[in-house]
C-alpha cells in the first residue's frame, strides 16, 4: 500500500549524539572574570579528607557545541508552538512570551527568598495579587501558592481536611476517589495517611449518587473529585454530592485540573467544594517546559483557612508581609513560598485577559472541544453521550475491531504532524482517546486535525497493518519500552 505521507530525508540535525560524545579535553564554554581576591590553595583549605580530584566523565565542550547540540535536540521535540497539542487534561494552550519577559525582570528574577520584607515588597505584592485573583476566580476564601504542582496541592488539601476533622473530633480512615480519577489522587490519599476507597462511576461516567450514598459514612473523611470530570463532563449533581458528604461530616476536595472549562463561567466555591487546587501550568498558561515546572496552589473555604501552609502572604496598611505565626497550619510542603516564577506568569496572564478575556477563553475552549467532538463522532465511538465541556473522550472500539488501538492511532497521528491526544486515560473508558484542543487553537488547525483523524479512520478500514507500524516520519520509530525496562540504562558511561 502506498505511503500517504512522504518520508523526510536524512539530515545532519537528526544524528546528534550525547553531549559527552562531543566532549574533548581542554574545551570550555564559559569564561570566568579574573579572581579579585587572593587565591586559596585547595589542599590547605580542604585537606586530603575533603579535596576531590575531579568530576570524572564531566563533559568539556565549547559554547558553539552547546548551542548546536541543544538546538538539534530541540528540533526533535513537538511543541505547542508547532501546532495543536491536544493532550486531554493537560490544557496545552499558548504560552505567552510576555510572561517570560516579565518573569526575567531584575527583582522578580533575582530577589532572594530571605530578602528582608521591606525590600521585597514587589515580590510579595505579586504573590498577594495572584492569590487574590485566584480567590475571586475560584469563589473560595483563601489561597496558598506554596504547593509546587497539582499533586502537591492535592496532598496539601488532604492534610488540611484531616487537620480540620481531627480538631473537630472526627478521626476518619477513608477518602472516596472515583474510578475516573487521575492517579495522583489516590497516591496523595495514601501519603495523607488515609485509605483510598474506589467509587464506581455511573453509566454517564459521573458520580453515582446511590453508590456515594452507600459509600459515604462516618468513617470517611471526604470525597476527592474532579469537575468537570476526567471525561470532560460537568457533574451536574455537584451540589447534591457536596451536601451528601457534608451531611455525614466529611469534606469535599476538588481536583481543579479542568478549570479551563469554568473560569469566568462558574466558581467551585459556589458548588459546595471545601478545598481545591489549581494547575497554573494548565489553566493559567505557564509553560510546560518538557514536563515542568508546574504550580499547584490550593484554594480553601474559610473553615480551612487556619490550616494553610505557612507562611501566609498578607497585606496591612498598604504593605505586604509574610505571616509565620500560624499555629494551626499543617506545616510546609516545600521550602520558601512556592513556585514564585509561575505566579508571575499566571498573574500576567490574568491581567492581560481581564474579566471578559478570561470568560471568552473558557467559552472558546468549550466551543473548540465540541466542534472536534461533533466532526468526529461518526467515525469514532463516543463512550458516553453526556455533553463535553473543554475536552472530549472517544473510545477506539470501532478501530479495535480491526486490531488497531488508541495507541496505534496516536502514533499515526504523529505522521500527520500533530501531537497525539491522551492515550488510555481515563481508565473507565476502554481504549480512551482524550482530546483537549484549548481555546488557542484556531479553526484551520482544528480542521486539519479533524481531517487527519478522519483519514486515519479510513486507513484503519483499508490497511490496518500500515497504521500499526506508524510513525514513519519521525527521527526514531517505535522504541522498545519493554526491553528498556528489563535492563534499565539510565546514564551514559564512557
Amino acid at each position: 500500500m502506498e505511503n500517504r505521507i512522504k518520508n523526510a530525508r536524512p539530515h545532519v540535525t537528526r544524528n546528534e549524539g550525547l553531549i559527552f560524545e562531543r566532549s574533548s579535553p581542554g574545551k570550555s564554554g564559559a569564561e570566568l572574570p579574573p579572581l579579585d581576591v587572593p587565591a586559596v590553595s585547595l589542599e590547605d583549605a580542604l585537606g586530603n579528607e575533603f579535596l576531590r580530584a575531579e568530576v570524572e566523565g564531566f563533559p568539556e565542550v565549547s559554547e558553539v557545541d552547546v548551542i548546536c547540540h541543544f538546538t538539534r535536540l530541540s528540533t526533535w521535540n513537538y511543541s505547542i508552538d508547532a501546532g495543536l497539542y491536544p493532550l486531554g487534561s493537560c490544557t496545552m494552550k499558548y504560552n505567552p512570551r510576555l510572561n517570560e519577559a516579565v518573569a526575567r525582570l531584575d527583582g522578580p528574577a533575582t530577589d532572594h527568598p530571605y530578602t528582608p520584607e521591606s525590600l521585597a515588597q514587589g515580590c510579595l505584592k505579586i504573590l498577594g495579587e495572584t492569590a487574590r485573583c485566584l480567590v475571586e476566580i475560584t469563589g473560595m476564601d483563601a489561597v496558598s501558592l506554596q504547593p509546587a504542582a497539582g499533586a502537591q496541592g492535592e496532598l496539601t488539601g488532604l492534610l488540611m481536611i484531616r487537620a480540620y476533622l481531627e480538631e473537630h473530633g472526627r478521626n476518619r480512615k477513608y477518602v472516596i476517589v472515583p474510578d475516573s480519577a487521575h492517579g495522583t489522587n489516590p497516591a496523595s490519599v495514601t501519603i495523607a495517611g488515609y485509605e483510598a476507597r474506589n467509587l464506581k462511576s455511573n453509566a454517564r461516567g459521573c458520580v453515582d449518587l446511590d453508590a456515594l450514598d452507600r459509600a459515604m459514612n462516618e468513617e470517611v473523611a471526604g470525597l476527592m473529585l474532579t469537575n468537570p470530570n476526567t471525561l470532560g463532563v460537568f457533574e451536574t449533581e455537584i451540589e447534591k454530592v457536596c451536601q451528601m458528604v457534608h451531611a455525614r461530616g466529611g469534606l469535599v476536595y476538588m481536583d481543579g485540573a479542568n478549570m479551563n472549562a469554568l473560569v469566568g463561567v462558574a466558581r467551585p466555591g459556589e458548588f459546595g467544594v471545601d478545598v481545591m487546587h489549581l494547575n497554573l501550568h494548565k489553566t493559567f498558561s505557564t509553560p510546560h517546559g518538557g514536563g515542568g515546572p508546574g504550580s499547584g496552589p490550593v484554594a480553601v473555604k474559610r473553615i480551612l483557612e487556619p490550616y494553610l501552609p505557612a507562611p501566609v502572604v498578607e497585606e496591612a496598611d498598604g504593605s505586604w508581609r509574610l505571616n509565620h505565626d500560624r499555629p494551626r497550619s499543617i506545616g510546609r510542603v516545600r521550602a520558601w513560598y512556592g513556585n514564585f516564577g509561575m505566579a508571575v506568569r499566571a498573574l500576567a496572564y490574568i491581567l492581560a485577559y481581564g474579566p471578559q478575556g478570561l470568560r471568552q477563553a473558557t467559552e472558546d475552549a468549550v466551543l473548540n472541544a465540541n466542534y472536534v467532538r461533533r466532526r468526529l463522532r461518526d467515525l469514532y465511538e463516543l463512550p458516553y453521550d453526556a455533553p463535553s465541556m473543554h475536552e472530549c473522550v472517544f473510545s477506539d472500539r470501532r478501530q479495535a475491531a480491526r486490531g488497531v488501538h488508541t495507541g496505534d492511532i496516536a502514533k499515526r497521528l504523529i505522521d500527520y504532524g500533530f501531537h497525539p491526544y491522551t492515550v488510555s486515560f481515563p481508565l473507565i473508558v476502554a481504549g480512551a482517546m482524550m482530546i483537549e484542543p484549548t481555546e488557542t487553537a484556531g479553526k484551520a488547525e482544528l480542521d486539519a486535525f479533524i481531517e487527519a483523524l478522519r483519514s486515519i479512520a479510513q486507513e484503519v478500514e483499508e490497511d490496518p497493518e500500515f497504521v500499526l507500524k506508524a510513525p514513519y516520519t519521525t527521527r526514531v520509530s517505535r522504541l522498545d519500552e519493554a526491553a528498556a525496562a528489563r535492563k534499565p540504562v539510565l546514564r551514559w558511561k564512557p
Binding site: 564559559a30 497516591a187 515546572p293 508546574g294 490574568i350 534499565p488
Partner: protein, 440 residues
C-alpha cells in the same frame, strides 16, 4: 463553528451547569491590560526589590552568574512549550536532555543513577527519607540539627500521619554533626541518617565517618546537598546510599524561592524504589538509539495508591537549565568557579574575623558560606549594612535560638572584592561604635 456543533448559542454549551451555579457577573479581577501596560505593572513591582543591593544571602538559594546562552536555548519553543515525553518519538530532545541531566547528577554525586528531577531540594530530601523508610521497613529517622530548617519542616509535614519518629542530633564545636551523640542516637529501628553537606552553617560534614556509623546500625545514609557547586572540589559522598538536593545553583534564577530543581541519586539496587521520572536508553525497530520514560510501574499513573510517590509534573525546564549550565562550564570551568567561590568566602571570613568582637564560631571547613558572631546586636548590624545597600546575611536566631547574634554569610563569585571590603568597613565601623558605647 457554533452551528457545526449543533448549538444555537454559546450558553447552550454550558447547559450542564445548573443555572443557579452560573456566574451572572464578570470576575472582579483587574485588566485587561495591553502589553505595554503589563510591562509597566511588573516594572513597578520590580522597582520595589533588592536589585540594587549587594546580597550575602545563601541558606539554600545561591546567586551565581547565569550565562546568557541558557535563556537563549530555554526560550526555544520546542523546549519551553513541549510537555511530558509520553510520546517518545516526538520528544527525543527532552528525553535525551534528561538522560544527560541524570548522567551529570550521577557523576557529580558519585552515585550510580539519578532521576530526571523533583520539585526542589526540600521535597527531594523528603522523597529520600520516604524511600529509605520503604526500603528498610523501619519507622525511625535520625537527622542533623544542621539540616536546613525548612527542609526538616517539609519532612515533618509529609510524615505527620505516618507514625515515624524523627530524632535530631545537635552539632559540635566544629559546626559538624556531633558524632558521639549520633552514635548514641542510633538503634536497630533507624531507617536512615540524614545530614546536609555543606550543612546549613556552611560547614562540610565528614560523610565517610557518618556513613560508617549509619551502616553499622543497619541504617541507610542520606546526604542532601543544597549547594552542589561544592561538589566540583569537594569529594563526592560516595559512601551514601542516597544523595539528594537542590540544583538551583546551576543556572536557575533565585526568583524569590522558586521554581527550583531537586535531584535524587542512588545506587542501582534501589532503582525500583526511586520516586520521580526516569529516562532510559532504548532501541527503535531499526536498532537506532533513543530514549524513553521507563520503570513507570513505580509511578502514580500506574500504581495509583501504591505508587512510590504522588509526583507527576517535575521540573524538566530547569533540569535542562542545569544541564546546559554544567555543559557550558564543564569539568574545568565548574572547578574554577568553585575555587573562586571558596577564595571569595575565605577572603571575607578572614577580613571579618579581624574586626573587634567578631568571631567565626565553627572550626570545620567551609565552602562559600560561613557563620559569624556579630559585635553587638545582629539585627542592628544588618540595619546598618542595609543603609549601605548591603544585605549582610541571615540572622540565625530565627531558626536557632541558641545562636543569638550570629549571621550566616554567603559569598559567591558574584560578590566583588570591593563589595566585601565595603562590608568589612561597615562592620568595623559598627564594631567600633559598639565598643565606644560599651567602654563609655
Amino acid at each position: 463553528m457554533l452551528e457545526a456543533t449543533g448549538h444555537t448559542s454559546i450558553d447552550e454549551l454550558f447547559s450542564q451547569i445548573p443555572e443557579a451555579l452560573r456566574l451572572q457577573r464578570g470576575l472582579k479581577v483587574p485588566g485587561p491590560l495591553s502589553e505595554p501596560e503589563l510591562v509597566e505593572f511588573f516594572r513597578q513591582a520590580a522597582s520595589q526589590s533588592a536589585r540594587d543591593y549587594v546580597s550575602l544571602l545563601g541558606a539554600g538559594a545561591y546567586s551565581h552568574y547565569r550565562p546568557v546562552v541558557i535563556d537563549t536555548l530555554l526560550s526555544r519553543g520546542e523546549f519551553l512549550t513541549s510537555y511530558t515525553p509520553y510520546q517518545a518519538e516526538i520528544s527525543q530532545g527532552n528525553l535525551q536532555a534528561m538522560f544527560e541531566f541524570q548522567t551529570l547528577i550521577a557523576q557529580l554525586t558519585g552515585m550510580e543513577v539519578a532521576n530526571s528531577s523533583l520539585y526542589d531540594g526540600s521535597t527531594a530530601t523528603n522523597e529520600a527519607v520516604l524511600m529509605a523508610l520503604r526500603l528498610m521497613r523501619r519507622k525511625r529517622v535520625v537527622w542533623a540539627r544542621t539540616l536546613h530548617p525548612e527542609y526538616r519542616r517539609v519532612v515533618e509535614t509529609y510524615l505527620q500521619h505516618q507514625g515515624v519518629e524523627l530524632v535530631e542530633v545537635p552539632y559540635a564545636a566544629t559546626g559538624q554533626i556531633d558524632r558521639e551523640r549520633l552514635e548514641a542516637a542510633m538503634n536497630r529501628e533507624t531507617a536512615a541518617v540524614v545530614v546536609q553537606s555543606p550543612n546549613f552553617f556552611g560547614v562540610l560534614e565528614r560523610v565517610h565517618e557518618i556513613a560508617a556509623i549509619a551502616h553499622r546500625a543497619g541504617a541507610l545514609m542520606i546526604v542532601t546537598v543544597t549547594e552542589p557547586l561544592s561538589l566540583a572540589i569537594v569529594k563526592a559522598p560516595e559512601e551514601a546510599d542516597i544523595v539528594c538536593g537542590e540544583a538551583q545553583s546551576f543556572g536557575v534564577p533565585v526568583a524569590f524561592g522558586g521554581p527550583y530543581v531537586g535531584f535524587l541519586a542512588t545506587r542501582e539496587k534501589f532503582i525500583r524504589q526511586m520516586p520521580g521520572r526516569l529516562v532510559g536508553q532504548a532501541q527503535d525497530t531499526e536498532g537506532r538509539r533513543g530514549y524513553v520514560l521507563t520503570l513507570a510501574t513505580r509511578e502514580q499513573h500506574i500504581r495509583r495508591e501504591k505508587a512510590t510517590s504522588n509526583i507527576c509534573t517535575s521540573q524538566s525546564l530547569f533540569a535542562l537549565s542545569a544541564t546546559i549550565y554544567l555543559c557550558l562550564l564543564g569539568k574545568k570551568g565548574l572547578r574554577a568557579l568553585a575555587e573562586q567561590n571558596l577564595a571569595k568566602a575565605r577572603y571575607a571570613a578572614g577580613q571579618l574575623c579581624q574586626v573587634a568582637a567578631t568571631e567565626l564560631p565553627f572550626s570545620g571547613p567551609t565552602f562559600n558560606e560561613f557563620v559569624v558572631k556579630t559585635p553587638g546586636d545582629a539585627d542592628e548590624l544588618l540595619e546598618e549594612l542595609r543603609q549601605r545597600k548591603i544585605i549582610g546575611g541571615l540572622n540565625l536566631v530565627r531558626f536557632y535560638p541558641e545562636l543569638e547574634n550570629h549571621l550566616l554569610v554567603c559569598v559567591t563569585e558574584t560578590v566583588s572584592r570591593a563589595a566585601v571590603d565595603r562590608l568589612v568597613e561597615a562592620w568595623r565601623y559598627f564594631a567600633v561604635a559598639k565598643e565606644t558605647l560599651v567602654g563609655g
